[in-house]
């Protein structure tokens, strides 16, 4: 074994160590901050591991007492709102989007191509250029500060995404499969249901996870359209921790950990689907 090879390997392992450290150090600091008492967090130099580690912040969020701060008390509701909103958006956009994607991928009809291009274009539109009229629409329909309002608004950007990605997925399925089913007497709809959808399952899972992550992550619309515990989502609640009390980071860190768990767990479970989904969904020229 020559020395050049050994040095090369050592360097590669060193790089790997650096990357792993860069990934985990900020996350570890988030978790450590969330279990540190406030006083220790403000020590100089920092206590890298708290002397009196405590789960009090988590208790405050999950089972608030009288002395608990307002932001911590509201956080439970924010979690519930985020789950309901992101979950509904995922289900609705998958059902509605998959049907439309099938049409775009398999059927001939006027304006098919321009429709698809329009959906691609919609992904590039900055949220701010629809923010104000949407505010007016929501207000006029009494949907401000409601989960329903947020669900509708989120569909406006999740749906084009689902349609675009699922259309690409359907293109990867050979049409002969469907043709065979139709020769055997299936209607188009039952061929879609019995043949195409089962094959497209990896795509559906990946797209569903993406849709959930998109909705869970959204901040701008939620910031503008929700201000009470009735509909406020997790990102807004976390941003609020930084409001007046600039240094209540232990509470914010707790919120951050709780907010990160669902998407991170989903991403880890469906890692393969996500990687394949990214490959098929966006890299398809």
């Amino acid at each position: 074994m020559d020395i050049k090879y050994i040095i090369g390997r050592a360097l590669l392992y060193f790089c790997m160590f650096i990357v792993l450290a860069a990934i985990f150090a900020p996350l570890a600091w988030l978790v450590i901050s969330s279990i540190s008492p406030r006083a220790e967090l403000l020590s100089v130099p920092p206590h890298w591991w708290p002397e009196n580690a405590t789960l009090q912040n988590y208790v405050d969020v999950i089972a608030p007492q009288e002395g608990t701060s307002r932001a911590a008390r509201d956080f439970r509701f924010a979690l519930g709102n985020s789950v309901v909103v992101a979950g509904s958006v995922t289900v609705i956009s998958l059902v509605v989007g998959t049907l439309a994607a099938y049409a775009y991928a398999r059927l001939e009809f006027p304006f098919r191509r321009s429709g698809l291009i329009a959906y691609m274009g919609l992904r590039m539109l900055p949220a701010i250029s629809v923010a104000l009229p949407l505010y007016v629409i929501l207000r006029d329909n009494r949907l401000l500060n409601t989960r329903m309002g947020l669900i509708l608004v989120y569909l406006s950007f999740v749906l084009p995404f689902v349609i675009y990605v699922m259309t690409n997925f359907f293109h990867t399925i050979p049409p002969e499969l469907e043709a065979a089913a139709r020769v055997d007497g299936c209607t188009r709809i039952s061929a879609l249901w019995r043949v195409i959808l089962p094959i497209a399952r990896p795509g559906l899972v990946a797209t569903g996870v993406f849709a959930f992550l998109l909705a869970w992550d959204e901040f701008f619309f939620a910031l503008l359209y929700t201000s009470t515990p009735a509909a406020k989502t997790v990102p807004v609640a976390i941003a609020e921790f930084t409001g007046r009390h600039a240094i209540d980071f232990s509470a914010q860190a707790t919120g951050g950990v709780l907010a990160a768990i669902p998407p991170v767990v989903l991403a880890l479970i469906f890692q393969r689907y996500i990687v394949r989904g990214l490959a098929a969904g966006s890299v398809k020229g």
Binding site: M16, S156, A279
Partner: protein, 313 residues
């Protein structure tokens, strides 16, 4: 139904039946399938866009609601002839090019590292997805706390290693604040590049590398002559998506610096947000939002053009 049934049906019924005979009529099936999504997108996107466009030609200021008049392109001309607007575009471009550039270079490097299949590479592949999955707001909050001038981990770490003598207010200097925000963005978004590039890398033909190695190409030559050209479509896609996202960055700026200090991190989306929702100059804000869209569209078109000429070649 039998023939007799059809004959007795009125022409109108027959027409209706033909319309809903999805086997025969692709257009009506397609229509039935796309209508729900069409209604949602038209109502929630197209109408608001048109309405914003109309607003952008008016002088609407909620602070003075009694005066609303059609002023043509004045809002646009005001912005385009304003120095501060161009400085903001400059800052946005700086943020976009530096962060996307760093993300693409780092992302390719990490994908190559994964491709070496060192011991533990599966763990790295699994870990790399985490920063991407962490909500943007959470990652921004983490970095804001790390950068904290008085109690932040960055100062604590550098101080304990003796690299600095005094705590540094990382976010107090305009230019430095911008760079710190870029670091936070790179942490959050590089994994996306890694995921796409390494997926593309997995499908590269091994034989080409063997052949090149036999012909005496060294590792660097193989990387430049084989890997990069074959990865080009994937890299282009990443560039388009990341550039568009970075140019309209908002969440991270809102959480870490709110455009400050002294407008050092004032990017175009944040400026539009302030104009519209803080100063309530709706017409002016609407015009800004269209200028942002126009910039993004131009960027996207340039990329798509490059991508297309590639396909032809």
């Amino acid at each position: 139904m039998d023939k007799a049934g059809r004959l007795t049906a009125s022409p109108w019924q027959r027409k209706l039946r033909r319309m809903f005979d999805f086997e025969m009529n692709q257009t009506s099936l397609a229509l039935a399938l796309i209508i729900p999504s069409l209604v949602l997108t038209l109502g929630l996107v197209l109408w608001p866009i048109v309405s914003t466009l109309i607003m952008s030609f008016h002088n609407i200021n909620l602070a003075r609601p009694e005066r609303q008049e059609f002023i043509g392109l004045a809002n646009y001309i005001n912005h385009l002839s304003d120095n501060f607007f161009w400085e903001t575009i400059g800052r946005t471009a700086y943020f976009t090019f530096v962060s996307v550039g760093a993300e693409v270079v780092l992302g390719i490097a990490i994908a190559l590292l994964l491709n070496q299949q060192l011991r533990g590479w599966r763990f790295l592949r699994l870990s790399i997805i985490i920063p991407w999955a962490v909500p943007t707001i959470v990652s921004a909050a983490i970095w804001r706390w790390i950068y904290n001038a008085d109690y932040g981990a960055l100062n604590g770490l550098l101080y304990q290693f003796g690299l600095i003598d005094n705590y540094i207010p990382w976010l107090a200097d305009p230019q430095r604040a911008m760079n710190m925000v870029i670091i936070a963005d790179v942490w959050h978004s590089t994994p996306f590049v890694v995921l796409i590039v390494s997926a593309a890398m997995a499908s590269l033909p091994v034989e080409l590398y063997d052949a090149a190695a036999i012909d005496g190409a060294n590792a660097w030559q193989r990387f430049v002559r084989i890997t990069i050209p074959l990865l080009r479509p994937a890299i282009m896609v990443v560039l388009v998506i990341r550039t568009v996202e970075a140019f309209r960055v908002f969440d991270i700026i809102y959480t870490i610096t709110r455009g400050g200090p002294v407008n050092g991190t004032m990017v175009i989306s944040y400026l539009t947000y302030e104009e519209t929702f803080r100063y309530l100059k709706l017409g002016s804000g609407a015009a800004l939002s269209f200028i942002v869209s126009a910039f993004i569209l131009v960027l996207a078109l340039i990329y798509i053009r490059i991508l297309y000429t590639e396909d032809v070649a």
